[in-house]
C-alpha cells in the first residue's frame, strides 16, 4: 500500500512531466478566470436591470444561470469539446482545449454571476438614489457607486469559486489535453502505481492554499471593519 501510493523514485521521475502538464492547468484557469470575471458581470448586470421593457433580457439572463448551474460540468465539456469540433464548420475552432475552456467559462460564469448579483442586491437602494440624484446615468451609477461596493463585499465567495475552477481545470483532460491529471494517468498506467496521482494532487493543493488563505484574510478584514464601524 505504501509502495502503491508513495514510491519515491517514481515520484521524482514523473514529477517534471506532471509539473509541465500543470502549467497547462494554470493557463487554462487563468484564461478562463479572466473571461468569467467579465462575462459573469455582464449577466449579473443584465439580470438586475429594472423595468418591464427589459423583462426579456432579465429572462434570458435567468435562463442562462439556471441552465448552466443545473447541467453537470462534465456534460458541458463533453458536448462542446467533442460536439463543436465535430460540426466541422468553417470558422469554428477545432481545438478541444479551446472548447474545454469555453465550457468552463460558460459553467462558472453562471455561478459567478449569482455571486455578483448577491453583491449588487446587498447595496442599499439609497446609494443608487443618491447617485442618480446627482445626475449620474444608470450606467455611471452602477460603475462608480454600486459595483465597487458590490464586488468588495463578494470578494471571498468570488475567490471561493475560483478555487473550484482551479480544480475543475482537470476536467479538460477528458478531451485529451495532456495537462497534469492526464499526464499522471499516463504515468500511472505505465507503472501500475498511483504515486503520480498524488504528485498531481500535491500540485493542486499547493496552488489552492495561498488563494484559500487570501480568502480567509479578506473575510477577517471585512469582519474587523464592520465591527469597528458599529
Amino acid at each position: 500500500m505504501r509502495r502503491a501510493f508513495f514510491e519515491g523514485s517514481l515520484f521524482r521521475e514523473s514529477f517534471p512531466d506532471i509539473a509541465r502538464g500543470f502549467l497547462i492547468n494554470v493557463r487554462i484557469f487563468l484564461v478562463a478566470e479572466a473571461f468569467i470575471l467579465v462575462f459573469a458581470l455582464v449577466i449579473a448586470v443584465l439580470r438586475s436591470l429594472p423595468g418591464p421593457a427589459l423583462f426579456p433580457v432579465r429572462l434570458l439572463a435567468i435562463a442562462y444561470t439556471d441552465f448552466f448551474r443545473g447541467v453537470p460540468t462534465i456534460l458541458v465539456i463533453y458536448i462542446l469539446g467533442f460536439g463543436a469540433p465535430a460540426l466541422e464548420l468553417s470558422g469554428v475552432p477545432r481545438s478541444t482545449l479551446f472548447w474545454g475552456v469555453v465550457s468552463l467559462v460558460l459553467v462558472y460564469s453562471a455561478y459567478v454571476a449569482e455571486v455578483y448579483r448577491a453583491g449588487i442586491d446587498s447595496v442599499h437602494p439609497s446609494q443608487e438614489a443618491a447617485a442618480r440624484s446627482l445626475g449620474l446615468s444608470r450606467f455611471k451609477s452602477l460603475r462608480f457607486v454600486i459595483l465597487p461596493q458590490a464586488v468588495r463585499r463578494v470578494l471571498p465567495p468570488l475567490l471561493n469559486d475560483f478555487i473550484g475552477l482551479q480544480k475543475d481545470s482537470a476536467l479538460v483532460a477528458l478531451l485529451g489535453t495532456v495537462e497534469a491529471f492526464r499526464q499522471s494517468q499516463i504515468d500511472v498506467a505505465g507503472n501500475f502505481n498511483y504515486t503520480p496521482y498524488l504528485a498531481t494532487a500535491l500540485l493542486f493543493v499547493l496552488l489552492t492554499i495561498p488563494l484559500a488563505r487570501l480568502t480567509d484574510w479578506l473575510i477577517a478584514r471585512d469582519q474587523r471593519r464592520s465591527r469597528g464601524r458599529t
Partner: protein
C-alpha cells in the same frame, strides 16, 4: 416673477396606496418653503417626486418653465439642476469625502480634475470640512457627514435644493451645525424646498410653510400665520402636539 418650481395637481401612489393626492405648490426664485406634517404625510415622497426619483401618476412638475415630468425628458439633465439631501446622508462609503463631492462634477459636468478638486475644496472649506477632504465618510460625525452630503449636492451648482429631514438622523447636539449651514444657504439666495420636523427652524427660515396631511397641503402661508394662527383644525392639532412635546 415666475416660480422656480411649481407643482400642479401632483398625485403619486405606491401600488394601491395613494401617498400624494393632488399637491399644488409654488416655490419662488430664492424662496424657502418648508413642508411640515406628521411622518407619513407625504413630505419625503413629494421631494423625491421633484427629483424624479419617484414617478408621478397625475399632474405636472415645472422647473424654470420646463415641465420636468413630461414624457421623454432627459431625467439626468433635470437632476443636475436639482440637488437633494437625504435624511440618512447616503454618502458613498467607498470614496473619500473629496471624491464624493467631485464624482458628479467630473462625470456629469465633465469638469477637469483640477477644477473639480479646487471647487470641491473651496466648498468643503466654506462648510468647515477642509480637513476632512481625504477621510472616508465613516470617520466623520453625523453632522459632518450631513454637511458633506450638502456640499456634494451643491458642487453640481443646482438651481434648487431639496432637503429631506436632513437633521432627523442626527444626535441633538449635532443638529445646530447642519441647520447653520442651511441658514447660510438661504442667506446666499438658494431656492429651497425643505421637509422638516424642526418647527423653530422652519419658523425662522421659511418664507412660506406648508402643512401636509395625508397627501394634501391642508394649509399654507407665512410662518407667523401658520404657527400663531393656524386655521385648519388638523394644523392646530399637529402644532399642539409639537408644543406639548416641547419642540416649539
Amino acid at each position: 416673477m415666475s416660480a422656480a418650481l411649481r407643482l400642479e395637481g401632483v398625485h403619486q401612489s405606491y401600488g394601491r396606496e395613494e401617498v400624494l393626492r393632488g399637491i399644488d405648490l409654488e416655490v419662488d426664485e430664492h424662496g424657502v418653503v418648508c413642508l411640515i406634517g406628521a411622518s407619513g404625510s407625504g413630505k419625503s415622497t413629494l421631494l423625491r417626486c421633484v427629483n424624479l426619483l419617484e414617478p408621478i401618476n397625475r399632474g405636472r412638475i415645472v422647473v424654470a418653465e420646463e415641465e420636468i415630468t413630461a414624457r421623454g425628458v432627459d431625467v439626468d439633465r433635470i437632476r443636475r439642476s436639482i440637488g437633494i439631501v437625504f435624511q440618512a446622508f447616503n454618502l458613498f462609503p467607498h470614496m473619500t469625502v473629496l471624491r464624493n463631492v467631485t464624482l458628479a462634477p467630473r462625470e456629469v459636468l465633465r469638469l477637469p480634475a483640477q477644477q473639480a478638486r479646487a471647487e470641491a475644496l473651496e466648498l468643503l472649506g466654506r462648510f468647515g470640512l477642509a480637513d476632512k477632504a481625504d477621510d472616508y465618510p465613516d470617520r466623520l460625525s453625523g453632522g459632518q457627514q450631513q454637511r458633506a452630503a450638502i456640499v456634494r449636492a451643491l458642487a453640481m451648482r443646482p438651481r434648487i435644493m431639496l432637503l429631506d429631514e436632513v437633521t432627523s438622523a442626527l444626535d441633538p447636539e449635532l443638529v445646530g451645525e447642519v441647520l447653520g449651514v442651511i441658514r447660510e444657504l438661504a442667506a446666499s439666495g438658494m431656492t429651497m424646498l425643505i421637509a422638516t420636523h424642526e418647527m423653530a427652524f422652519a419658523r425662522d427660515i421659511a418664507d412660506r410653510v406648508c402643512f401636509l396631511h395625508e397627501g394634501v397641503i391642508l394649509e399654507q402661508g407665512p410662518p407667523e400665520r401658520i404657527f400663531q394662527a393656524p386655521e385648519h383644525p388638523r394644523t392646530q392639532q399637529f402644532l399642539q402636539r409639537i408644543i406639548e412635546a416641547g419642540r416649539l
